[in-house]
Symmetry: C2
Subunit: 122 residues, 2 copies
DNA sequence: ATAGCTGTACTATCGTGCTAGTGCAGTGGT
DNA sequence: ACCACTGCACTAGCACGATAGTACAGCTAT
């Protein structure tokens, strides 16, 4: 859950739904909104501050730092690479190798995301 | 851990390292080999029997059923599709859409698996 | 000042998955 | 018959993450 919340916040940063200088939702507000314990949100915020995404303004809220967006983009991209690595490993376990992996994955991606081929062939 | 063990066994089935009629390693044998508690392996075996991959031969071992390989291939492929779905979702969270997702993923896949491009361009 | 918000800190509880240990029933080679 | 193996079942403990509840320190608008 903590991981999920962190990823959602990073995604919001990348999508510029929160920008430098903005305040994030309060610990209690976000917690009640997503039906999660305040402690869980508080831990995420604390970690995000430790990692330089946020600046804690005691009494007013969590401030989005100036490096937040680029750092978020970087972290999400790293996550993507790890996921891609797992995907390839699993595909290998399926008995595929090299180009076979690549072609199968291409098929799976289109299958899981039909819209992408619509747009890419438009 | 249980998930990992299950996946490894399914992969071995797909790779024909175990075939119909073969006996799997004993619960205690596999457990000591991969440094895991026998109960964990036993649970995996029990689940695999419930799902029709194996047939428990009390006293002698776990027998690979005749549907095992095709079922394993099917399950691993389903896992792949789910992983691909997650990947696409995360890529979207990165701010990408449609064809952008597709081209980025292609790059990531080659990046994470350089060998695949070697083989595919050979 | 004060009331109401903010993040932070702490302990306790619960659920889950893995570990640890023991025992039992069934099979097969000797 | 016997013994070593097999899977299976059960209880207890530990680690980890999330929950629950409370309390404290700092800011801000009224």
């Amino acid at each position: 859950m903590s991981v999920q919340i962190r990823q959602d916040i990073l995604a919001a940063l990348v999508a510029k739904r929160y920008r430098q200088g903005d305040m994030l939702p309060s610990v209690r507000g976000l917690a009640s909104e997503i039906l999660v314990n305040p402690n869980t949100v508080a831990k995420v915020y604390r970690d995000l501050e430790r990692d330089g995404f946020l600046e804690a303004k005691r009494g007013s809220g969590m401030l989005v730092s100036h490096k937040a967006e680029s750092k978020a983009r970087s972290e999400l991209r790293t996550n993507l690479q790890e996921l891609a690595g797992d995907l390839i490993q699993k595909a290998r376990q399926c008995g595929l190798e090299g180009a076979d992996v690549h072609t199968l994955l291409e098929g799976l991606l289109l299958e899981a995301d039909p819209a992408s081929i619509e747009r890419s062939t438009r």
